[in-house]
């Protein structure tokens, strides 16, 4: 069962400010970028204004990601109590370890809850749950 939304209930939008704007702007263009310190060659998630290793504010850059990763953990939302009312249950939130090493969460859009397993190969895709909102998501990938 693919991910389904319940019409009429807005999906909560990400909080966007100058520290993470490049990320969400890229998602709008269906591009997936990650923040990296070019001096230390370390990736960060969530984004930040300073590299915690070299304390530079200038060496941070946004670089295209392969978009590929593996499911590191996941949660199945099976009951109303914990679920967001705007999304049809059951839905799955996956924690994905990207090839670059950082981990991000999103939904898996094309898998049944019982198909999902730790180690499952996935890649980034995009959807638009409502007008003016583009999200990155994950879909199945051949290993």
């Amino acid at each position: 069962m693919p991910l389904e939304y319940i019409p009429g209930i807005p999906i909560l939008r990400p909080y966007v400010d100058p520290d993470n704007q490049p990320f969400w702007d890229a998602v709008d263009r269906h591009e997936f970028v990650l923040q990296r310190c070019s001096d230390c060659d370390v990736y960060f998630q969530p984004p930040r204004p300073m590299c915690p290793h070299c304390l530079s504010m200038d060496s941070l850059e946004w670089v295209p990601s392969s978009g590929r990763g593996e499911v590191y953990s996941f949660v199945v939302f099976a009951a109303d109590r914990m679920a967001y009312p705007g999304m049809k249950i059951p839905y799955v939130v996956v924690l994905v370890e990207m090839e670059e090493g950082v981990r991000l969460t999103a939904n898996i859009v094309d898998a049944e809850p019982d198909e999902v397993y730790i180690g499952m190969p996935v890649e980034v895709t995009y959807n638009s749950p409502m007008e003016g909102l583009t999200l990155y998501q994950f879909k199945k990938r051949a290993s």
Binding site: L12, R13, P14, V16, V27, D28, G132
Partner: protein
């Protein structure tokens, strides 16, 4: 990409509707809705509690009674807003601090007193203005 703040402009309620939030204050506002001014007083040591609260700061008693007051007092201080900080209020307007004859003080608005007539010490008495069917505000006019 828009943000949460852009997409959902807040609805601004009339500030009067903010009034009843703490349960301790509910009897006060219910009485005002009936055009009665009552204040909370400690049942044990008879200390006034304004604003209302669940415990007496003097004797730590949790018991209290609601006592009608005269509604008469004097202006203890006042301010005027040359520009309005909120669309519900038309500037210029004045806010007064009234010291009731019984002692406690209430913030309110003057009725029928121009800002340039306001004076510290001016005797005033309470009047009520209905905001909705069961909600009113207490205001003060020159004592007759």
């Amino acid at each position: 990409m828009t943000t949460q703040a852009d997409s959902e402009a807040p609805v601004i309620p009339h500030p009067a509707l903010w009034a009843v939030l703490y349960r301790s204050s509910t009897p006060f506002w219910e009485a005002v809705g009936r055009h009665e001014l009552t204040l909370q007083r400690c049942s044990d040591c008879k200390t006034w509690r304004m604003p209302p609260r669940p415990m007496c700061p003097r004797c730590q008693s949790a018991e209290s009674e609601w006592v009608p007051v005269s509604g008469r007092g004097t202006i203890h201080s006042w301010v005027t807003y040359p520009e309005s900080p909120h669309p519900a209020f038309e500037a210029p307007y004045a806010v007064i601090l009234v010291e009731l004859d019984e002692g406690p003080r209430l913030v309110s608005n003057p009725v029928g007193i121009a800002p340039d007539e306001l004076e510290i010490g001016m005797p005033v008495e309470v009047v009520f203005e209905d905001v909705s069917d069961d909600f009113a505000l207490y205001k003060f006019q020159r004592a007759g």
